[in-house]
Symmetry: C2
Subunit: 403 residues, 2 copies
Amino acid sequence: MSENIKICPGYKFVGVASGLKKAAGALDLALLLSDTPAVAAAVFTKNRFPAAPVIYGRKLLAAGRDLRAVLINSGNANACTGRQGEVDVVTVAEFLAAALQLDPQEVFISSTGVIGEPFPVTRVLRGIESLLAELEQQVAVSAALTRAARAIMTTDKAPKVIGIEVETSQGTVTLTGLAKGAGMIHPDMATMLAYLLTDAKIDREIWQAMLQRVVSQSFNRISVDGDMSTNDTVLALANGVSGCSLTNPVDLDLFETALLQVANALARMIVKDGEGATKVVEITVTGAANLADAEKICRTVANSALVKTAFFGQDANWGRIIAAVGYAGVELDSSLVNIDFDQVRVVSGGVRDPRYREEAGAAVLRQAEFSVKIDLQSGEDEFTLLTSDLTHEYVSINADYRS
Amino acid sequence: MSENIKICPGYKFVGVASGLKKAAGALDLALLLSDTPAVAAAVFTKNRFPAAPVIYGRKLLAAGRDLRAVLINSGNANACTGRQGEVDVVTVAEFLAAALQLDPQEVFISSTGVIGEPFPVTRVLRGIESLLAELEQQVAVSAALTRAARAIMTTDKAPKVIGIEVETSQGTVTLTGLAKGAGMIHPDMATMLAYLLTDAKIDREIWQAMLQRVVSQSFNRISVDGDMSTNDTVLALANGVSGCSLTNPVDLDLFETALLQVANALARMIVKDGEGATKVVEITVTGAANLADAEKICRTVANSALVKTAFFGQDANWGRIIAAVGYAGVELDSSLVNIDFDQVRVVSGGVRDPRYREEAGAAVLRQAEFSVKIDLQSGEDEFTLLTSDLTHEYVSINADYRS
């Protein structure tokens, strides 16, 4: 893990292998433990089939209790598991709470992995015993954080962790985030888990509102394949151990900017590590008559299989982009549309720019990261999404994957 | 071409190579010529960037003139080519009309291929001269039809032709259809060209209304990758040379059923030949509270990259299907949902059916064609789509393709 990652004081991290993943010895169970009760905020999937831990988590958050522990397993999503799945979440939460001498209402649960398989509750309970044993060991906190970040991975290739310090008028506070992403990443937070931890003290309502704004500007603006999972969760905890209470507007603004920075860094890592992805592409629609139009066009282009495959092929096939703009279902004047690849003007007024040379477009697409800007010249609104390419490896991973 | 394909009397077919495709000698220009003026009906793409020939074709149809000739080129879509593209269509139509001694208003034009490249009008004019020369040759009509069907192909692997006879109270009439499909096939008729020809005599308004109903039940119910092209066109011609005038409701019903059969046969060929496709999957949503819900869920499942990749992997991963049902944006009670793969009940009441065995589901998915039925048990409405799988070959074709 990079030396630059600031680790938030007042939290402990554990990651162990409990046999939930097929690969022997693979880390698959993580614990995030706050030394003190932490004010919690969360955003969950909008999928109509929320997984059992999402149903449980929504109830916890509604009850407004501060949280102490977060248990996250990979290898099984505990989704579409019916009443039994919900019972299993409670069993696990109560078991962990008893072991840590907490109230079960202080324990948050997340799961990720295959949908519809019975939840392997016995293995998880045994895994919790390993977690507790490991918690007693003197593992360096940065190593422990990395192990926790690895334990929540499914088809992710690398753990995703970031941490920064923020100087407020009340002193220095820290923000540390970890996440998992890979497949099914969609604007509405599909198959994504993210945990944002701080040692600042912050009011519950302010924290929840801030998280919602930040999620809508970060995790909800990425897309890998357009699918939205049953388990997506962003949980934010503020345990206040820094002693810095964020109440004045200047501090809160500063802190929100930092939170957005952390969330965007994690969101970018998720896109970069999208299943099989070789490119990170920022799609921006500008000059829209309204925000809804900008978003609709942006999402249509970012989710087009033909556009994403062209990115993989490093093919400056702007025709596919303009076709996707055209079928987004937005009224527009095609003769006003301009398209740029990075600084290269490709389309002017709906047709190929007369000065455009294929080689200039191809050079942009050969980069690992680039931007596509679509200017509708019909208004003031704009919307941006990060997306990835659609590759052979995506097909391989998803034709074969059942962790 | 199969002996069983009935070729409609009163039409001539030509297909030639005119250098529009990169491969030397590849057929790329087709002519469909009616011996007499034919009553025309058409359905066009809803893309906001309609190609120049679509703009031209809409005007022709609006003028209500009977048609004699249809010229179709592959290799260049003449889309996003601006004013010049529209001028080029007129140039081509006038050139062909003069050569055949027709009114330009009797000449319909279609183009398919790469978007945004200048239309190679000189090559097309030279190609027309080859077409006219070939028209003079005594090519067997079935061979000529196959050549025309090949000339309209882009990444299609095989020509798509069907022909049947219909016994009406007025005598026998024939229906012959040819189409091209492959990539970008979407419910709303993306990158698809289809021509439905008959020797029946039929009133213009009846013909147009019938075509619209048939298209909504056939070509608009298929999906390969969810993209919708700038050029999609279904054109139907009725030249009346059989002398059978279809006016009574019984004959019209009979004929419409036959037209739907022809359209569905072509639609199925298009899905089967979807870029890289190895599976044809019929997705049906039943028991929906209303038709819009049924369609929304059906299209979401049929367009999910994760679901389509699981089909390719022959992985009975019903969790991905249920996840897609859940994010379709429809209010539903997840505990009522049943899912069948062919005759195998997989999900009952939102969870895995207790009697379901993975091997039974896997056996269904090993077939080249199978059905997925999603029963919401919440109403009477239903919707069906044909879709294909998402494969390595799809990625290869679209990462590399620029015809």
